[in-house]
């Protein structure tokens, strides 16, 4: 099957581990964990982001994510959503490591609730602390190529610039910066946040990024499972297109049929 062939020769390597899928999906905002699991399945995802929260002591009966999205089948990627300081983020991820036993984490330190824009100074501080502490840090960041380089120099294993604001669905706002980050990075670059529809993901991949991370675009679609499938194909399409190398644009027409032999 073409896909497997393709992916067979084209893996995404994060912190030394190879993945076939270049689509990472979130596990928030779904109608149910069951739908969530079905969507992750349809997306062909191998990595899912998860949040860490207090257990609900009052309501023990409440459903648990792990009962639907099997941590043995999907790599759990704990995030620090809701953290506005380096300290909170580091504390959260240490607990995550204790709870799950995994070193691979997604760091995000946010500046404010209105934009959820990354707080780059705090993010860099947290990244350095976590790397010193033995974590493999995939870092959510702005599309500032200078800060992206600092995060890579600090030892982050994946640079994850936003396409646009988290949950906005406004697509890739600044393709030039994403391209600059791709050109300079030696670790995987993954567009995190902003994708709103399938073509956004294809466009991101065509810029040469190594993967895409999304949540709302799937969870808030009218039919999340179908959109998850759309995104699976959109990411493959963009990756293959980038590797195939697009045709040059022309200002005028260029016939596709031979001019010779016309009756």
């Amino acid at each position: 099957m073409p896909d497997t062939e393709a992916s067979g020769s084209d893996k995404l390597i994060i912190a030394g581990k190879a993945y076939t899928s270049r689509l990472i999906v979130g596990t928030g905002k779904y109608a149910s964990y069951a739908q969530n699991a079905e969507a992750a399945e349809a997306a062909g995802a191998e990595i899912v982001t998860v949040a860490l929260r207090r257990v609900n002591v009052a309501d023990k009966g409440s459903e648990r994510l792990v009962d639907h999205v099997d941590p043995k089948r999907f790599t759990y990627l704990p995030n620090t959503a809701g953290c506005y300081t380096a300290n909170d983020a580091v504390r959260t991820l240490r607990l995550a490591r204790e709870a799950g036993g995994w070193n691979l984490v997604k760091l995000e330190v946010l500046a404010d609730q209105k934009t959820l824009y990354p707080e780059m100074e705090e993010t860099l501080v947290a990244a350095k602390a976590l790397i010193k502490d033995g974590f493999d840090v995939m870092v959510y960041c702005s599309d500032d190529p200078v800060y992206a380089r600092k995060l890579e120099d600090a030892g982050c294993c994946a640079i994850m610039p936003l396409g646009s604001l988290i949950g906005s669905g406004l697509g890739i706002q600044n393709p030039v910066n994403i391209r600059l980050i791709v050109e300079q990075s030696k670790v995987p670059v993954i567009v995190d946040a902003g994708v709103g529809t399938a073509s956004d993901a294809t466009i991101a991949m065509e810029l040469g990024v190594d993967g895409v991370l999304m949540n709302t675009a799937i969870a808030a679609a009218k039919d999340p499972v179908r959109m998850a499938r759309a995104m699976k194909h959109a990411v493959i399409a963009g990756r293959e297109s980038y590797l195939a190398g697009r045709m040059p644009k022309k200002r005028y027409a260029d016939p596709s049929s031979p001019l010779a032999g016309l009756i």
């Binding site: 928030g28 969530n36 998860v50 949040a51 860490l52 257990v55 792990v66 709870a99 709302t216």
Partner: protein, 66 residues
């Protein structure tokens, strides 16, 4: 004794260990992490570390998130 569990006052048997607390709460040992007075409690010590009156305990687990 009195504890502050996930930000709310609660009570537990004197000298209860973390393991006893989790058991009392009907929580599994796996898939959760426990913080005692801002210090993470390694799973290996759940049965040995005894809680003290006024301890601030956080018990967390993974939930859906993006």
């Amino acid at each position: 004794m009195k504890l502050f569990l996930n930000g709310e006052a609660t009570s537990a048997a004197d000298n209860a260990t973390v393991a006893i607390l989790l058991d009392q709460l009907g929580l599994p040992l796996n898939g959760v992490a426990v913080e005692r007075n801002r210090e993470i409690v390694p799973k290996s010590l759940y049965s040995t570390i005894r809680l003290a009156d006024g301890d601030r305990i956080e018990i967390v687990q993974f939930v859906g998130g993006g």
